[in-house]
Each structure stands twice: as structure tokens, then as C-alpha cells.
């Protein structure tokens, strides 16, 4: 099936009164992509979605779908369909009438629209529920009706506003697989808004990480997880430890940093190389860290390059690995995910002083970005 539904935003800005909700955002979503808009609440992701849908108009900039500007067009003329956060199924209509609503307002004859609606219900495995009203359905069933109601309009782009937030954990995992499958089956673009990192990484081909009405990084799922560009993305996605320090010297493509405690790290110097005294940030994946107990419990820093010293304050068994949370002397949290076999060969206990080490190749350089996001609340497990 030919892939349709390419989206392009060109310098889109949205202001509500004095508040700048979206600050000159440009992005391209190729046709037939599963795209996630990811960010903490209030970052502007839903506003962006609503502007693509036509429920809000940008203050400045342009929105194009398959190369055509859709500014000023009503939602139905844009080739988009939106699935609302709580689904907004019409409570007074049966599932069949909900799904057939678009056909009804377009003037399709009753017999024909019932036939088409039954077919669409069948595609989401809900035909047995045609005569029920939404209040009789579970959250997952309601979601499938909402999906059918949107897809019957033959959209090029399906916009999903937090589609899984109303479901419990088990259904969430099941339905996110379903959504991915539906997207492949219909060959259209899905834009899925979420604040859950795991959800975005699991379903999306293109993850757009947002904060403060701006895009921080638009990348593949692996890209945002493995090679975050900024301290904000690294902290928000989780799975990474973020450290910073002042440049001491630069040699052979690597900069040597030193933090306030005297720990030293190397980071690829990049181009152009930083000046001495500049502050640089780096991330190291939590699962690429080695840990060793120290005999001296009062140690606060390590003399070896690429290591930190801290006290274990919590260990969490996760099955194939153990999550070890270490508090550094300056109060920062540092996490090491240690393979379960390695960990239990010489287990660290809460309160132990440990040194955490990593190889220079595991380090990834970051751009610094201030963020309102509180790292203690977010970040995913792995």
C-alpha cells in the first residue's frame, strides 16, 4: 500500500494570550510513520497535535499535509482524524451509530452507512458490540470503538491524544501493540502524544522529544535513548547517568573534565574543541557501568579517570539485572544497572561505599539544557 500522510510544520508558533505555548517549531514526519510526541505535561505536545488536527490555529507558521497547506481548513477537510484523550464517544449513541457518525453527517444512506460501520467494527474485532452504548464497554473496548470511528473517515493522518492513559497497565501494553499493528495495516501516519517514555520508545519509529514548546530532539526511538543530544533528553528519557565538569585539558580528540569533588572524566572533545575552564556534560548508559565495593567507607572521590564514588542507598532486583542507586557526595543520584550474576557474586548492600567505573567509549557528550522537568519523578527503569 502506498504510504500517505506526510506532515510538515514550518516555524509554527502558538500563543495563548501572553503565554508562548509553541515556540517556532519546525518538523517533518514522513508519510506512513508512527511518530510519538513525547514530553512532560505542559510542554506543548497536545497543542501541537491540536494544530495539526485543526482544533487550534497557529499564531504564526504553516502546517502542511502531503505538501498542501491546511491552515484555515476545518478538521474534516485536512484528511486528519483525532482520537481524543478520553475518547469522547457520544454517550447517547450505540457503538454502531458512533462509528457511522461521519457517514451520517456526510449524507450517506442509512443502509450503506450501517454496512460500512459494521465492516469497520469487524476490523477492530468489535462487531459483537454494535448495539451497545459506550457506558457498557471497558476502557480497551471504548478505545477500539474510538479508533474505528476515526478510521472510517479514511484519514491520511491519525492523531492520538494520550490514547493509552485511561487504561490499566496490562491493557496499555496490549493496546500499544494493537495501535502499531493498525498503523501498519492502514499504511497511514500516526501521531501519538504521550508523556510515558517507555510507551514512545516501544511503538514509535520517530520520537519527538519536547519541552517548553520546543523540540529538543527528533530521532529514532534508539536515537533518543542511546544518543540523546541534550542533558534534558538524557534525563527525561532515563536510562542514562548525566555528569558535568570543567574542562582541564584537551588532547587527541578527548577532553578531560573535573567536577567539584575532584572526579575526572573524559569526553569526546568534538569539533571545535572546548576551551579550558568551560563546563561540559556527558552521559553514560546505566547498563554500561561496573561497580566495586570500597574498603574505605569515607572515600568521596576516585583518583582513577572515568569513575565516581558514592554510597548505595537502594538496590532493586529487576530479574535479569539489579538496579543500584548510588548517592554521590554532592547529592546527585547515579544509577548502575548490574547484570544479576555479577551483582550477586559480591552483592553491595545499602550504605556501602562503592566506586562506579566506565570505559571512555561508553561516554556520550551532551549539550546543556535547563528544564522544568524533575528527574526524580520521571525516567524509565532500564
Amino acid at each position: 500500500m502506498a504510504q500517505i500522510g506526510g506532515i510538515e510544520l514550518a516555524n509554527v508558533t502558538k500563543q495563548f494570550g501572553d503565554t508562548l505555548a509553541i515556540d517556532s517549531v519546525s518538523m517533518i514526519v514522513p508519510p506512513g510513520t508512527y511518530c510519538c510526541l513525547l514530553g512532560p505535561s505542559g510542554c506543548g505536545k497536545t497543542t501541537l497535535l491540536r494544530m495539526i488536527a485543526g482544533h487550534d490555529e497557529p499564531t504564526a507558521g504553516d502546517v502542511l499535509i502531503d505538501g498542501q497547506s491546511v491552515l484555515g481548513l476545518p478538521p474534516a477537510k485536512r484528511g486528519t482524524a483525532m482520537m481524543f484523550q478520553s475518547y469522547a464517544l457520544f454517550p447517547h449513541l450505540t457503538c454502531l451509530d458512533n462509528v457511522a457518525f461521519n457517514l451520517k453527517v456526510r449524507g450517506v444512506a442509512k443502509a450503506e452507512r450501517r454496512k460500512q460501520a459494521h465492516e469497520m467494527l469487524d476490523r477492530v474485532q468489535m462487531d459483537g458490540f454494535a448495539d451497545r452504548v459506550p457506558a457498557e464497554l471497558s476502557g480497551g473496548q471504548q478505545q477500539r470503538i474510538a479508533l474505528a470511528r476515526s478510521l472510517i473517515t479514511n484519514p491520511k493522518v491519525l492523531l492520538l491524544d494520550e490514547p493509552l492513559s485511561a487504561l490499566d497497565e496490562f491493557l496499555r501494553l496490549q493496546m500499544r501493540g494493537n495501535l502499531r499493528q493498525m498503523q501498519k495495516e492502514f499504511g497511514i501516519t500516526f501521531v501519538h502524544v504521550t508523556h510515558t517514555q517507555m510507551e514512545a520508545i516501544a511503538v514509535a519509529e520517530l520520537v519527538i522529544v519536547m519541552d517548553h514548546g520546543q523540540i529538543d530532539q527528533a530521532d529514532s526511538a534508539r536515537g533518543v535513548y542511546d544518543t540523546p543530544h541534550t542533558t534534558y533528553v538524557a534525563r527525561f528519557i532515563g536510562g542514562q547517568n548525566v555528569l558535568g565538569g570543567k574542562v582541564v585539558r584537551v588532547e587527541s580528540g578527548a577532553a578531560l573534565l573535573e567536577d567539584a569533588r575532584g572526579n575526572r572524566f573524559t569526553v569526546p572533545s568534538g569539533d571545535p574543541a572546548p576551551d579550558t575552564g568551560e563546563t561540559r556534560y556527558l552521559s553514560i548508559r546505566r547498563d554500561w557501568i561496573e561497580m566495586e565495593k570500597l574498603a574505605d567507607p569515607s572515600a568521596t572521590h576516585s583518583d582513577a579517570v572515568n569513575s565516581v564514588v558514592g554510597k548505595v542507598w537502594m538496590t532493586e532486583y529487576q530479574g535479569t539485572w539489579v538496579k543500584v542507586s548510588i548517592t554521590l557526595p554532592d547529592g546527585e543520584e547515579f544509577v548502575a544497572n548490574i547484570n544479576d550474576g555479577t551483582f550477586f557474586a559480591n552483592p553491595a548492600r545499602e550504605g556501602d561505599t562503592v566506586v562506579a567505573r566506565w570505559s571512555a567509549e561508553a561516554v556520550h557528550s551532551l549539550e546543556h539544557r535547563e528544564s522544568s522537568f524533575d528527574t526524580s519523578r520521571g525516567g524509565m527503569q532500564a
Binding site: 486528519t80 484523550q85 478520553s86 469522547a88 447517547h92 451497545r132 476515526s150
Partner: protein, 276 residues
């Protein structure tokens, strides 16, 4: 798990007070309902001199005492007119007030102000104006207007309550699915709000049906029922008056049961009962 627990003395004081209040509330009305079944030779007070429907029959004969049938018809028609106007305008105003338009605050306070204006003076003023512009006062013109000054703000306030629970994403979803504004209103907004509209209609009807001060000086030559009853209390000396009280109560109750019943049926349907 009925378990004996010693109640404090305040319970008995408050319970006694409550019982007295209920007696005060329903006792007199109950006495009137019972006395309306007074035998043909009975009087205005207890004891009952036999039981009959005589006085109900007497209501429908044109008598020297009053015009029950005429005033009853006028009251019911007027109540329906008021109800239709109240629902129509309250719904439109309620929907309009969801957006802030120029002067919306001023209009809102003006509408609410007519709730606190003394009805009798309002009635007096309207009567006066009609005399000045030389239009005869009549129940379906001046009295209708006077009653609307009372029912419209009431209806508007109920609509605010109804709309505050209305999720705007229903409208957005309808528009997203290609519905025009008219289709959204017709197929989505009004049907979802329908139980609320019944409540507005019920208030419009009952407020009009027993309205006294606003009608008093605006009604013109033909009385509405409350005015007629008031006139009869001074002239009628038979239990027909009580029969009238019973009949009007039955009408009010019928209106309430009809409204609440249909609201209940709609809510049941949306909960999924009554499926084919």
C-alpha cells in the same frame, strides 16, 4: 449488623424538631386533601360528613363563586408558553455564555438582577407601562412577559450547571468527524443535554403555574389559577376550594413525575439498559 448504640440527647431534640417541621409542612396540605373528599352536605372543617367526589364535580360547573375551568386552562396554556420560551432562550443563552463575548458579564448580572427584584413591583411597573402605551394587559402578553423575567434567569442558571458538566470534546469530536455546527447541535449537543433541558422545562412550567405576584397586575381581564384561588378564598365557602387544591397539586405532581421519569429513562438507556 444492627448494634445498639446509646444516642446523645441532641439526637432526640433534633428528631423532635424535624418531626414537628414535617407535620407543619405536610399536615395542613394533608388536611386539605382529605377535606376535598367531603360529603355533599359537609362543611369547611372536620369532621367529614360522608365521603364523595361531589366537590370535584362542582368545580366544573360555572358557578357564582369563580371560574375554575377558564382560569385552569389559562394557567396551563401560559405555563406551556413560558416553558417553551424558557427552554429555547436559556439553552441559546447558556451556549452563548460559554464564550466570553463583549458585555457578557454585564448581561449576566442584568439577567440575575431580575431574580432579586420584588415581583409585585415588577408587576406594577409592567402594568403601568402597558397603560402608558395603551395596550390592554392580557395573560398571554403582559403576564407572559412578567413571568419570563423570573423563569429566564432561573433557566439560565440551571443551564450553567448543566453545561459545566458537559465535556466540550464531544463537540470537537463531532467537528473532527465532519459535522457542521448545525449537525453538531442537532445530533450531539442537544441530545446529550436533553435531561438538563427537561429540568429547565420543569422549572419553567412549575414556576409559571404557581406564580402570583408577577401575574397579579399584568394578567388583564382573565385570571390565572393562583389568582382565581386567592379570590375564591374570600368568597367561596364550600369544600370546592379544597377540591381545587387537590386538583392543582395533582397537576404539579404529574409534571414533576413526568419530567423526572423521562430523565431517569434517558439515563438508564445511556447506562445500557433497555437494549433491543
Amino acid at each position: 449488623m444492627a448494634q445498639y448504640r446509646k444516642r446523645s440527647w441532641t439526637f432526640y431534640v433534633l428528631a423532635t424538631f424535624f418531626i414537628l417541621f414535617v407535620l407543619f409542612l405536610y399536615g395542613p396540605m394533608l388536611a386539605i386533601y382529605i377535606l376535598s373528599f367531603q360529603g355533599p352536605t359537609g362543611g369547611l372543617t372536620f369532621p367529614l360528613n360522608g365521603v364523595s367526589l361531589h366537590w370535584f364535580g362542582a368545580l366544573f360547573e360555572q358557578q357564582r363563586t369563580g371560574d375554575f375551568a377558564g382560569s385552569f386552562t389559562r394557567s396551563i396554556l401560559l405555563a406551556f408558553l413560558v416553558m417553551i420560551c424558557t427552554v429555547t432562550f436559556s439553552v441559546m443563552a447558556g451556549l452563548a455564555f460559554r464564550r466570553r463575548f463583549f458585555g457578557s458579564t454585564a448581561i449576566f448580572y442584568m439577567a440575575v438582577a431580575s431574580l432579586v427584584m420584588p415581583g409585585l413591583f415588577l408587576s406594577l411597573g409592567i402594568g403601568l407601562i402597558f397603560r402608558v402605551i395603551d395596550v390592554p394587559t392580557n395573560w398571554y402578553v403582559s403576564a407572559l412577559g412578567a413571568q419570563l423575567t423570573w423563569t429566564l434567569p432561573f433557566g439560565l442558571l440551571i443551564m450553567f450547571a448543566v453545561l459545566s458538566r458537559f465535556n466540550r470534546s464531544y463537540e470537537e469530536a463531532a467537528r473532527d468527524l465532519g459535522a457542521t455546527n448545525r449537525q453538531t447541535l442537532q445530533y450531539i449537543v442537544l441530545p446529550i443535554l436533553f435531561p438538563g433541558l427537561i429540568a429547565v422545562a420543569l422549572f419553567g412550567f412549575t414556576l409559571s403555574y404557581d406564580e402570583f405576584p408577577r401575574t397579579l397586575l399584568t394578567v388583564g381581564p382573565g385570571n390565572t389559577l393562583p389568582l382565581e384561588i386567592y379570590a375564591m378564598t374570600t368568597t367561596v365557602t364550600s369544600p370546592a376550594l379544597y377540591a381545587l387544591g387537590t386538583v392543582t397539586t395533582v397537576v404539579s405532581f404529574a409534571a414533576i413525575i413526568l419530567s423526572l421519569g423521562s430523565i431517569a429513562i434517558i439515563q438508564w438507556r445511556r447506562g445500557g439498559r433497555f437494549r433491543k
